[in-house]
Amino acid sequence: MSSLDRPLILSAAITGFGYYTGDTHRAQRLIELDHYRALLRDAEAGLLNFVLFDDARSLAPDRSFGRIDALSLASRLAPESKHVGLAISVPTTYSEPFHVSRELATLDFVSHGRAAWHVTTTYSSDEQANYGHAPAPSEQDRRSITSEFVEVSRKLWDSWEDDAVITDAERGLYLDPHKLHHINHVGRHFKVRGPQITYRPPQGHVVVIASDHGDPGVPLDVQVADVLILRSRSLAEAKQAAASYRSAASAAGREIRILQSVIPILGASEEAAQRHAQELERSYSARYSGPAPALPLIGSPAQVAGELAAWQRAQAVDGFHFLPAILPDDLGQIAHELVPELQRLGLVLTAYRGTTLRDQLGLSRPISQYQGAPSEAFTAYQR
């Protein structure tokens, strides 16, 4: 069957040196634009739907690298890219929905609708030490703060209706005051009056991503996320999890896209890929204990594409979130070797379709929840 009505969604993580952090050579490249520029070029060559700029709020304990704030990086590179979605990790723990939702709205503005928000929390003891004057919320509180934070952010995105700015010189109205709304949010963690001070983002709502990346403070919740990234250990497990998320989403009337994290380890042949995997494993276990951070898929590009095709046939997930083992090399391999195999199998597009990230993901553009709601316009002086 032709699956191009619903092509696989593909994305990739941009995290430090990659997911097998063995090679910490030349850490300075991680603060150089050229490093990220090359990664974005690869991502667009591989028609990835989005890249995820990971971020945190402390230096890694081993001090093996520094970083650039994900928002600055994504905004700086937005003009140099055209299609790929730009997802950034932004934590909800020591920040304000009023600031974060505005920053994301503006990232969407400068990228013409390509912004996504990977919701994270600030929880390691190293991170908390940089906010030592503030309380450190429990795992459960971080989940509940995050859920409410996203809810408030969506209200703030909706607080300006799409066509609030009318610049009607005839009537002397810059904006239609009836299309701005106080959100008057009062919740357990936040009390925000609104409206936001920036326009509604091009996508209406910036795409929200929640991922299972080992932080139990992140709610993997269909109310919170538009895109859920799983870390299942097998196809069967992913299929079961995805089915339950999908039924929760349909009960809640929410659209959801579900991706599975995978670490492709590619080689010219299966043997070469296995050898490469062993090297990676050795250097990884020299630094870290525990299993690989996600499901490794080892083989030639055609073999790995075949495995992904099996997932697709089983209709387990909507796509894959690649965690490149080593950056930049493995992202290049994914884009230039693996994606062409997936194209050959008819599982992904051969050209970008749609302009915004929502278009690409097949997610509809939400209507403002305040559309048509009465608003407190200053009518006394209107002609």
Binding site: H25, R26, A27, Q28, I31, A56, R57, L59, D62, R63, S64, G66, R67, I68, D69, L71, S72, L73, S75, R76, P79, E80, Y94, F98, H99, R102, E103, L104, T106, L107, F109, V110, Y131, G132, H133, A134, W160, V165, T167, A169, G172, L173, Y174, L175, P177, L180, H189, K191, V192, G194, Q196, I197, T198, Y199, E376, A377, F378, A380, Y381, R383
Partner: protein, 448 residues
């Protein structure tokens, strides 16, 4: 070129609240990203030191109602500046950000990051978020309402906190030594925790962002009150001032120089830039006509009534502007009592109409003239020691900015008062300011 003192010039993209010049059909649209790109590129074409954006944390409103005729809404500056860095190479990128509603660790990493991705062009205008033009009913507390708080911090408290925020952020910017990379390889022993424990904050550090090209992004302040001037003298590289009278401006500059010395700084470590709206045209008549055109755009009766109401907290919707000021009630629960009382006193003493009272809340008249007249003004202030240049506050974009760049800049260059090319690679270098030496470098030098 001689070593003659040269001007430093910033340009402010006004919009929110200030301007209804949007009514002019040629005014650029604030809702389009391309407008901001064009602004940055026009400034860079004029070799301007930096572009500058304000901050608003609340939509302007009056009695909980929104008002259509004035500009509201703007993009987030921290998210906008990196994108503008992609379209420019030299012009500085300055953001106004409140020290009151942000975590120091967040601000430290954001400004350091913008400095990295712009190759050393970031500047931070430190404000403490007070609402100067907006009266009681739209004051600071409404900002607090957007941040889960009931009340805005008091003036003195905000400054006390701001002093700690900036000092702490500078420590974070210094937590990586400049040579923390050798041949690209990281030197972990050159990265240091700061272990800050102050009155307001406890931050261990180090920052996760390496020391940035400027060492510290340029710090801008606009302090007028004694607390504000003291903060400026402690922390600022650039100061904005509101003065239009040259004697007042000079007195202010002299006061700041004294305060700088008091804080152990050299008087040469500061650039003072008064704000000024400039309208340039080939002839004086054209410039004055344009100024008058803006006046008509900006101040129709509807806007005047709104601004009177917003500032005073009272209702002016039915007031006849050309009749004597009515008997306002300064004790009305919404009233800005001191302001209303002052209006009443003046109106009684001088028999003023409401329209005459309204003159007081208009921004000052722009400097409208020929390139020669404007250059004369700039030169006079520079040579009198009243300023190091100006922060331009154009009323109309693109017109006023393009006219300045195309007409006034060449005149200033002919007089040797303005650069003919960017001489430095960072904003600090273009401003003639030294790159701060990090505390670690200093201690190494002393220790050796």
């Amino acid at each position: 070129m001689s070593s003659k003192k040269q001007l430093h010039i910033g340009i402010f993209l006004q919009g929110v609240g200030h301007s209804i010049a949007w009514r002019d059909p040629e005014h650029a649209k604030f809702t389009e990203f391309e407008t901001y790109v064009r602004f940055a590129q026009t400034a860079e074409r004029g070799l301007i030191d930096f572009i500058f954006f304000g901050e608003g944390l609340v939509v302007r409103e009056h009695r909980e109602k929104f008002f259509g005729p004035i500009v509201n809404g703007r993009p987030d500056t921290l998210a906008l500046l990196p994108a503008l860095a992609a379209y420019t190479k030299h012009v500085g990128l300055a953001a106004t950000i409140s020290s009151t509603y942000n975590e120091p660790y967040e601000l430290a990493r954001k400004f350091a990051s913008i400095d990295h991705v712009s190759n050393g062009r970031a500047a931070w205008n430190v404000v403490t978020s007070f609402s100067n033009s907006v009266a009681k009913d739209s004051g600071g507390d409404q900002i607090a309402f957007n941040f889960s708080k009931e009340k805005h911090l008091e003036h003195a408290t905000r400054y006390d906190r701001a002093r700690e925020v900036v000092a702490l952020i500078k420590e974070l910017w210094d937590s990586w030594e400049d040579d923390a990379f050798i041949d690209g390889e990281i030197q972990p022993e050159r990265i240091h925790p700061i272990n800050h424990e102050g009155k307001w904050f406890k931050v261990r550090g180090p920052l996760d962002v390496p020391r940035s090209p400027q060492g510290h992004p340029v710090i801008i302040q606009a302090g007028q009150s004694p607390d504000g001037r003291d903060l400026a003298a402690r922390i600022a590289d650039v100061v904005f001032s509101p003065h239009r009278n040259i004697d007042e401006a000079k007195a202010y500059y002299d006061d700041l120089r004294q305060r700088l010395i008091g804080h152990g700084r050299s008087p040469d470590e500061l650039r003072v830039l008064p704000g000024l709206a400039v309208i340039a045209a080939p002839t004086e008549v054209e410039a004055k006509e344009r100024a008058e055109y803006y006046n008509q755009l900006l101040y129709n009766d509807e806007i005047v009534r709104y601004l009177l109401g917003e500032q005073s907290g009272l209702d002016f919707s039915e007031v006849d502007l050309d009749a004597p000021l009515p008997e306002l009630d300064p004790n009305h629960p919404n009233a800005n009592k001191p302001l209303v009382e002052s209006w009443l006193t003046q109106a009684r003493a001088h028999k003023l109409t409401t329209r005459q009272i309204a003159e007081q809340i208009r921004p000052r008249q722009p400097l409208a003239g020929t390139p020669v007249q404007i250059a004369d003004h700039f030169q006079h202030w520079l040579e009198a020691g009243a300023s190091d240049g100006f922060l331009l506050t154009p009323i109309h974009f693109p017109h006023d900015v393009e006219a300045f760049v195309d007409l006034v800049v060449p005149e200033l260059q002919n007089r040797g008062l303005f650069r003919t090319e960017y001489s430095g690679s960072t904003l600090r270098e273009n401003l003639g300011l030294a790159r701060p030496v990090s505390a670690w470098q200093r201690s190494t030098v002393n220790g050796d």
